[in-house]
Symmetry: C2
Subunit: 496 residues, 2 copies
């Protein structure tokens, strides 16, 4: 090879060849991405688990991963009917087995009929199996009291995250002061900040009101929007309802005010409604943005753009690993929707098993079906236990001096505020850590409890929180909460 | 709401509110994305299918979708053992069933032990279940004659596409003349052009040599690289071997030359090896880039950066819908690999059913296992039939005047060159269509055969091709090939 050009070639001949891909040369947007839910604290938790397996002595016998909303990892049993239908679809020889109820078989046959070559191993169309999108549309209609839903506006996805990122991707444009800004709640689920960093869009923070149970206040939305317009072009508003990590459930009045605001300010609404089945508090009720928007009538109903996301990972299903979800688009420009279809087609299709589970979740057994009673009993048991755990969590935290926890009205997390003594804050700063990260790391090292510091979700300056799932089984949750309370007391004494 | 700012707010008060998201305001990079494999011709095929169902008379009774490598949609039967293990994992009650062989049960139990809460419904760690990555590493070691593979360098993915896009995303940086350029073969699989458009990276075309059975020529790589350096910074080289859509299988000598070239020119190698099990031609053999690189010794072995991709969608498995795959990283900078881990964690985890199928595919039954004989027989039958279909396709096309087809040495496609009469080319231009798109659309309308025009993959100016899968069952493939030949003759007469 006689002729070489470029620095790399030259370096090679000198034996000094550097890597092509280094921290300095890689995508700078990717470097900015952070995702606390699986961040450094979770990596440390994994190490601790390995050390325990290797017999290293610790002040605890088990790491409890309360960092992530992963119900089945915490021992929640899958809903039998979901798994029966999926097993039949995966291995249709079982359609002849006497061990499966007839309605599960009928359901599996119906889904397989809709698959290419009658097999889950075929790609579906990119927006998801037509039949399943029709079932999703009917689910939405039932949920929303008969307001029509069009299967052509429904795109199945690889979990809700996949669909959320697709929508954000479509929305990002411009440079410098015309760059797309996206309003997100603080505290937020860090998928939003991560995706915006990766897409080099501008994150516009609006703060939820901790003093009013994490309520969303339109005056604060307006403050955030007006400030943001100085340096970017805000074009979308993200709402998480029920809230993650905050657990609040929005009132209908609040949703109406948000819709009016979005309409008047020209913002595309992204409604993350993956916890729509997870509402526990008395007096709280889930209202979908689609329903409220439609019932508000003109000019909102026919014009306000909205994307609503749902998933099989949460609810009573907890089928995180299967990565099933969908987005419903409302009032999206038809040409843009075609562009979205094209973009999705590059990734071929969402995983078919997740599509199957979604189908069963959106069209559960009817009262006349043999599986009805068991399905309902299992679903109710999961939701009742979650409600009890939500209540217990709030109660124990609020009995602890220095910890204050808003009601966990919905979703799967508590996000209590913790007082940290000034000397602990100072010590954290010396270590180059956020104060709540310091607290959570110490908690993990001393008790094996893995929770995520509030700084990973965002919080008002000078306040400290952590996110803890309410998912551990009752017999573990109670001692866990007590251990946590005692640790906070000890930590406070140590640094006072 | 008294005070409003911004154009949108103003427009709203005038009753002229426009959509936030339109073709003009959406992400311009997404607009540039094209993906022919599921492009306009496939949308038309879907319409035709619907018309047939509605009883509309057509000159054919069935649309044959030979546009996409989707084996099971074409009737290929899933490998029994893969589905047995997955069904057991999905619905562990079946572990007590007498209808499943012991080795399938042992396998399922082993996988479930490695899952959070012993359930597929839990998230796995973001890089994929540790046990499965270990099994993948052992597979690679066997494949490569004992060269070590490290599970920590293996990331499971949602099909190979997901991992390919992740690697490209890491590589993209710079602006204007320093923007990352990526060399891709022409013809290419359009995931590459689509991802590069979306990421706003520079696509650098190198042409495969149709006259030499689509061989890759290093002189052409060098030409492409030198030209590209005028306007971008080429940093990666993509190879598809066995080739898609071209079906060639690279020789060891060719791979060595490519590795030397990449090393000397400072290019990160991306080896798309998803068809590694699909090699049919006598004298052809799959050589992995990893193996060749390692056996070349210093300075290449310890330094050349490489990512190799594989999938459960192709091979003898054909499990496209489950979206399982992996990438093995070789010589990647450790800090960048951590960044990749972080980036992957935002999407939580690859779907667990795809991980299970991958696990079985990389660790098939051993000779002493009860399922060994059946597994081997099924695998051999699939691959033997694909080999026969590859041969038949090549043969029939080459007997057709005006069509010339290189040997289908591997993969799942033929990419024949078609002569189109000048008047057909002219007619296409009048219609604003690429000439081969015009040909393929007419073919679809008149015969129901759906193939993808060569312009969707790239081809030398003035040449015309189409990509057709070799997947239709033998009893359909032969008449399909004959219909296609006859149509070409008729089309040629019509426009002569």
């Amino acid at each position: 090879m006689a002729l070489r050009t470029g620095d790399h070639g030259q370096a090679a001949t000198n034996g000094l060849k550097e890597k092509v891909l280094t921290l300095d040369t890689m995508n700078p947007c990717v470097r900015k991405v952070e995702y606390a839910v699986r961040g450094p604290i979770v990596l440390r938790a994994l190490e601790l688990e390995q050390e325990l397996r290797q017999g290293v002595k610790k002040p605890f016998t088990e790491v409890i991963r309360a960092n992530i909303g992963d119900a089945q990892a915490m021992g929640q049993t899958p809903i039998t009917f979901l798994r029966q239908v999926l097993a039949l679809c995966v291995h249709p020889d079982l359609l002849n087995s006497p061990d499966f109820p007839d309605d599960a078989k009928r359901r599996a046959e119906r889904i397989l009929q809709a698959c290419g070559g009658h097999s889950l191993g075929a790609y579906s169309i990119s927006s998801g199996t037509q039949l399943i999108r029709e079932d999703v549309a009917r689910y939405i209609e039932r949920r929303d009291g008969g307001i029509p839903a069009d299967p052509n506006n429904i795109f199945l996805s690889t979990g809700a995250s996949d669909a959320i990122v697709t929508l954000l991707k479509l929305l990002v444009a411009g440079e410098g002061r015309t760059r797309t800004g996206v309003l997100i709640p603080i505290p937020q689920y860090p998928l939003y900040s991560a995706a915006l960093a990766e897409l080099s869009a501008v994150q516009v923070d609006y703060y939820l009101d901790e003093e009013r149970a994490w309520a969303l206040d339109v005056a604060e939305l307006r403050r955030a929007l007006l400030q943001a317009r100085d340096h970017c072009r805000p074009r979308a508003l993200c709402i998480i309802n029920p809230g993650n990590p905050t657990g609040q459930v929005q009132t209908r009045e609040c949703i109406e005010a948000v819709i009016r605001f979005a309409f008047e300010e020209g913002l595309f609404l992204l409604a993350d409604e993956v916890y729509q089945d997870n509402v526990y508090a008395e007096g709280s009720q889930f209202h979908s943005f689609k329903k409220v928007l439609t019932e508000m009538g003109p000019p909102y109903a026919a014009r306000q753009e909205l994307a609503s996301f749902h998933s099989v990972s949460k609810g009573y299903m907890g089928e995180c690993g299967f990565r099933g979800g969908y987005v419903e688009l409302v009032n999206m420009d038809a040409a843009v929707q075609q562009q979205m279809q094209k973009l999705r087609s590059v990734r071929l299709c969402p995983p078919t098993p997740g599509q199957v589970l979604l189908d069963v979740a959106v069209s559960p057994p009817a009262p006349s079906d043999p599986s009805f009673a068991q399905f309902q009993a299992e679903k109710r048991a999961v939701l009742a236990e979650l409600a009890a755990k939500a209540k217990l969590t709030e109660q124990v935290f609020n009995e602890t001096p220095g910890i204050r926890c808003n009601p966990v009205q919905g979703a799967m997390y508590s996000f209590p505020r913790v007082q940290l003594p000034p000397r602990a804050v100072q010590r954290a700063q010396e270590l180059g850590l956020a104060p709540d990260m310091f607290f959570c790391l110490r908690l993990l090292e001393e008790t094996g409890i893995c929770v995520v510091p509030g700084s990973g979700f965002g919080q008002r300056e000078g306040t400290y929180h952590f996110r803890m799932t309410i998912l551990p089984p009752m017999e573990k949750l109670r001692p866990l909460l007590e251990t946590l309370s005692q640790f906070h007391a000890k930590f406070t004494r140590e640094y006072s």
